[in-house]
Amino acid sequence: MNTNLAAQINSFLAAMILLTAFGMLVQRRMYGLIHLFAWQGLFLSVSTAVVGFVAGAHHLYISSILTLSLKVILLPYILHVLIQRLKIHKEVETIVNVPMTMLIGIALVVFSYHLTAPVRELSTLITRSTLAVALATVMLGLLMMITRKHAVTQIIGFLAMENGLFFAATSATYGMPLVVELGVALDILIAAFIFGIFFFQIHTTFDSLDIDQMARLKEED
């Protein structure tokens, strides 16, 4: 396929990634969150493969398969099992109400667009326009971590941030060198195991995964 078509497909996938990021921001149900996260990972791995095909950067195929297996299959599966074991079926509370969260999200998208302007001017890659979307996904993941009061959603927000970062790597530079990407994937895997263990620890001690419970460590006046 020629560069133009690839750029369009990439833009479309970027838009889909942004859409899933917003979807996760407003989604209340736990399983819905996991499905949206899996979709985001799928769009990300397809985008990586497309960029790898068109730019001739073959190590991106490996990254794409890594993303697919880790973020689309393994991590959602782990989360799914955790939610079932810990019997979390409730909806998630939010600190700010949903429309306000969406407005903040839109503001973050505009902000990241302005922030990545210098990089966009200098880049010669076909994927340069998607760097803003990547940074926006990172920010939206951060917003999700801040505005939700549940440990599982905080983790999903964290993983969404990692998705955005990975997307940023492919947008700005056709992917980091393979050794770095493998290391990052390893770190994510270890982090996944750790938070799995964590959930059990939290659940055993606090009997719920509501973050509000964990607010004891403050200075007393």
Binding site: F12, V109, Y113
Partner: protein
């Protein structure tokens, strides 16, 4: 040809008057089939309208001119709107005078007077329906404008025929902004025309009504006009969506011979959209009222995302 635009205009008004009830009947038929019931037939809305015209009007004693005049006003406004939305041909004379903002304003006029009429008599249900309707309107209108603006960014004009022209002549391009705008438009159309998941058009329970509650007191020819206008509004929203997002098959400017083909395409697309509408209505449940803000907020969000992605990605 001088009379070509005039012909198109007259044809469109005739189509909207005649085909809108058939579309409503088609949706009802599909819904009944999907729910395992026997449908009342494709042309039942005609029979309903004729029946209503032959009945007497029962007016409350304190009904003012607003109550009496609203059905005619609403009917007129919707027919006028029908003259703006391109259905058969790209070349539409009235489109030069009224763009999409005027279209939204026309719908607003209709809604404004219906809401007033609902409160006119002084019944509780009428007031409730009016307030709910205005809540939805206050959220849906900005979203609708944002969605249309996203499309007009690409066509550099808010005139509907111009927009259709640009989308028609462009290649089948994967434009994220249009995709987002389409999603937003679907959500808004569901809200504005009062379908599930926003409002159940077939409900009999007054406390769950939004649009129906405003017109509870109407009877006879007034009700016939309002019902007909309601069907035409649904038809118009569908045609607006088809014209702006998938206008292929529409007759190009000045091409008289392509009109019958355009008409055929229109019928086919209407049939498909009707089926899609029934899928949505049967698949979803009606939302609780206070979730509406989120629903319409999502629509606004999608439209804004479409606009942003136009600048960011294109």
């Amino acid at each position: 040809m001088m009379f070509y635009p005039f012909l198109i205009e007259v044809l469109q008004i005739l189509i909207i008057l005649a085909v809108a009830p058939v579309f409503a009947g088609w949706v009802k038929m599909l819904k009944c089939w999907s729910q395992g019931r026997t449908s009342p037939g494709l042309f039942q809305p005609y029979r309903d309208i004729v029946k209503l015209f032959s009945k007497d009007v029962v007016l409350a004693e304190n009904a003012s001119w607003i109550f009496r005049g609203t059905p005619y006003l609403v009917f007129g406004v919707v027919v006028l709107s029908g003259g703006i939305v391109p259905m058969l041909s790209v070349d539409l004379p009235l489109a030069a005078t009224a763009d999409v903002i005027a279209l939204v304003a026309l719908f607003a006029i209709a809604r404004f007077f219906t809401a007033l009429a609902g409160m006119d008599i002084g019944t509780a249900f009428g007031g409730m329906g009016s307030s709910r309707e205005m809540t939805i309107a206050s959220l849906a209108e900005p979203a609708m404008l944002m969605a249309i603006f996203t499309v007009s960014l690409a066509s550099k004009s808010t005139s509907l025929s111009q927009m259709v022209q640009v989308v028609y002549s462009g290649q089948a391009v994967l434009r994220p902004s249009l995709a987002f705008a389409l999603l937003a438009f679907i959500l808004i159309a569901l809200a504005e025309t009062g379908r599930i998941p926003v409002d159940n058009p077939a409900t009999h329970l007054e406390l769950t009504m939004i649009h129906e509650a405003m017109i509870l007191e109407y009877s006879g020819r007034h009700l016939a006009l309002i019902e007909w206008a309601g069907m035409m509004k649904l038809f118009l929203f569908v045609m607006l969506g088809i014209a702006v997002f998938s206008p292929w098959g529409i007759a190009a400017s000045g091409d008289l011979a392509a009109i019958p083909r355009a008409f055929l395409f229109m019928i086919l697309k209407l049939g498909a959209v009707g089926a899609g509408l029934v899928l949505i209505e049967t698949g979803l449940a009606k939302m609780r009222l206070f979730r509406l803000t989120e629903f319409l907020g999502s629509a606004f969000l999608l439209a804004t995302l479409g606009m942003l992605s136009y600048f960011i990605l294109e």
